[in-house]
């Protein structure tokens, strides 16, 4: 489209030069060639533009169309009023235009006022919106947000457009949506499911594609979850925590629930509890989870029962990066000398910062307080090692000042 505009301006310049220098005959020729070149390749491009910017086009006071009119009327200065403006163009291309452009020409005839010089009433003049035209294409929704009702409402709802526009295809279809017609029903449906008002924005930011879905489909999926005896609160929690849950077909959801039940060997109630606590498990890829389960079993040497306990206590442990998992275990088991049976009781260690464990263990070791055996005095639990803040750790576990801890960190 930028190309088109450039071509038009270039043509205008060309035209002016010819007007000054050449004879009328020559001038007519140039116009003919120019109008043809403008009309033929670029008409399909013009269509969507006209479609979207109907009011501007109707009034035809924008710079773009003024240019065309100026050029055409300058060519036929003394001709009749019907003959000026774009009607000239129409006459010229009539014989060779196909049905498509014919339809377009009719559209033009309707849309344009008969003359640029025609006087209009005061009321009509007031209604003319003299705004710069919207860009034909853009990389961001920023250009459109000030003019689009839908986008404005979405922003007020709390949707982060700067994030949505980075998703493939999302910005394109958001622009075409109508708030009343397309978005409202989905929002009402989500509210019925139990998504909180203040979470709607975050939900749509994460999953704008739900606006493309049909409400009936979504209803069947919710009905499936209800049939699996998930309580209403649980469904609300799952949907708002895992926005993509409702995009999954019933078969797929069923498969995934079955996977967790089978692979982990949990009973129905515990499986439901697990996916309610971390619904992300259902929507994320299953491959890393399968891999992690194997790592727990073969590489780290936990028994099935222990794995079940670790996963059920902290569901996030299923999604931990494999390398981080082995590194943390290696440090805990081989360097700190903590047996499997103790680690099972504190599954949160797999989910904590590796550097933090290292620093604190080395500090305790330096102080001579690194004693992780619960049967002996001055026992330090892993929970206290990983989950408390530095201040609390220094005061309660290491029993030193935080300055000493910081000094120690600078000797590592």
């Amino acid at each position: 489209m930028a190309l088109l505009t450039r071509r038009v301006t270039r043509c205008c310049c060309l035209l002016k030069k010819h007007y000054i220098v050449n004879s009328i005959e020559l001038r007519k020729q140039t116009i003919r060639t120019w109008t043809l070149s403008l009309v033929r390749p670029s008409l399909p491009l013009l269509w969507p533009y006209r479609y979207f910017r109907q009011p501007v086009f109707k009034n035809s006071r924008t710079l773009f169309f003024d240019n065309i009119q100026f050029c055409s009327s300058s060519a036929s200065l003394n001709s009749s009023p019907e003959n000026n403006s774009l009607s000239l163009v129409n006459q010229q291309i009539e014989p060779r235009s196909n049905s498509d452009s014919k339809a377009l020409d009719e559209g033009w005839d309707e849309a344009l006022p008969s003359s640029a010089l025609e006087e209009i009433s005061e009321d009509e003049a007031v209604q003319i919106v003299a705004e710069p035209p919207l860009p034909f294409e853009s990389f961001t929704l920023q250009d459109y947000v000030d003019r689009s009702e839908t986008l404005q409402k979405l922003v007020l709802l709390g949707v982060d457009l700067s994030k949505v526009e980075k998703r493939p295809g999302a910005a394109q279809f958001l622009l075409k949506l109508d708030f009343e017609k397309d978005i409202q029903k989905i929002l009402l449906f989500l509210k019925d499911v139990g998504v909180e008002d203040n979470q709607l924005g975050a939900f749509l930011t994460k999953n704008p594609y739900i606006l493309r879905e049909v409400v009936e489909d979504l209803e069947t999926r919710v009905a499936y979850l209800t049939s699996k005896k998930f309580s209403k609160e649980a469904i609300a929690r799952m949907v708002s925590r895992a926005p993509y849950l409702l995009l999954f077909s019933v078969e797929r959801l069923d498969n995934r629930l079955g996977f967790f039940q089978k692979e982990l060997g949990l009973n129905v109630k515990k499986t439901k509890d697990l996916v309610t606590r971390l619904p992300r498990l259902l929507t994320n890829s299953l491959e890393p989870i399968k891999e992690n389960l194997k790592v727990y079993e073969l590489e780290l040497g936990f028994s099935q029962n222990e794995i079940r306990h670790i996963v059920y206590r902290i569901p996030k442990n299923l999604g931990v990066n494999k390398r981080k998992l082995t590194q943390t275990f290696d440090y805990l088991h081989n360097i700190m000398g903590i047996p499997h049976s103790t680690i099972v009781h504190f599954p949160q260690v797999f989910n904590s910062n590796m550097l933090r464990i290292k620093e604190r263990h080395l500090f305790l070791n330096f102080l001579g307080r690194a004693q992780y055996d619960p049967k002996q005095p001055s026992y330090i639990s892993l929970d206290k090692l990983v989950s408390v803040s530095d201040d609390v750790f220094c005061a309660e576990v290491a029993k030193t000042s935080i300055q000493d801890f910081q000094k120690f960190l600078k000797t590592l």
Partner: protein
Amino acid sequence: MRAAKAGLHGLFAVYKPPGVPWKGVRDAVETKLLSELNSLERPPPSQQVRFLPSTVEGKDGKELTLTVTQLPVLAEHPLVSGPIFTYLKVGAGHRLDKKSSGVFVLGVGRGNKLLGDVYRAHLSRTYTVRGLFGKATDDFSDTGKLIEKTTFDHITGEKLQRILAVIQGSNHKALLQYANIDLKTQEAYELAVKGLIRPMEKSPPLITAIRCLQFEPPDFQLEIHCMHETQQYLRKIVHEIGLELKSTAVCTQVRRVRDGAFTLDDALLRIQWTLRSIRNAILQSRLKVKTELRNTMAYQEIFAGSLREREARLSQTIADCEHSKGVMPWLQTQ
């Protein structure tokens, strides 16, 4: 918000923990700074003037007019425009490899230019290096593949000291050679007495001073002042010390305690990587870096002066030779 970023120009030092690549440290600092900058209060959105049509009761019934209104530009809404700052120029000074730890200099904003000046100043750095006798690995560190084991009972502190003295001596000779300075000038002599001579262009790694901090076989700890070094070179030094002592040694820790003007006290720990403490650190280091660079300029002048003087003296001696032989010696021989 912009004012907060305006304060972020200069150099500061962080403490790099071992086992983390330097790029990770740099990226962590950048993300932390960006998130804090973006969480600050935004400037109010600019207003746009819109003419909205409205009906007004005029003389002859209703009349359509335009009223001027000011509306905030929605395109500048944080949810539409996204975060204001998406990247910061954060550059790194002399690098530290993954296994080593210590003072790591970073530059923000226009401070990156200073990084270049600091590099060209060829400042010396100080490391503490821990070694362990009795083992040899393929990459000279304790985590590498074990190649051989040796005894170390025969090593005494005195023997170690002797080897260190030899290393320092040979490096000092190389230092004077690479410094390319004429010791016959008064200024250069005074500098040499103070031990301030250093090369001003690229050279192989040079150790300006080395001493033993602690010797409890098999463990030992060295303090090394050096320039143009890499951490792997220091590990290799430990390995070579082991070989010289008719044993083997691996390096268990390389820790930088000083980088140019930045010492351990200036380095920020991981919990201190916040906008406020980084800004304070930049302010505090500004004067130090400036004096350091000024000293370097003074040194460079002396250096250039000594070069000029030597050239003058050389041409003088050549002229003297020619004079003693006559104006045109080749004519005499014919």
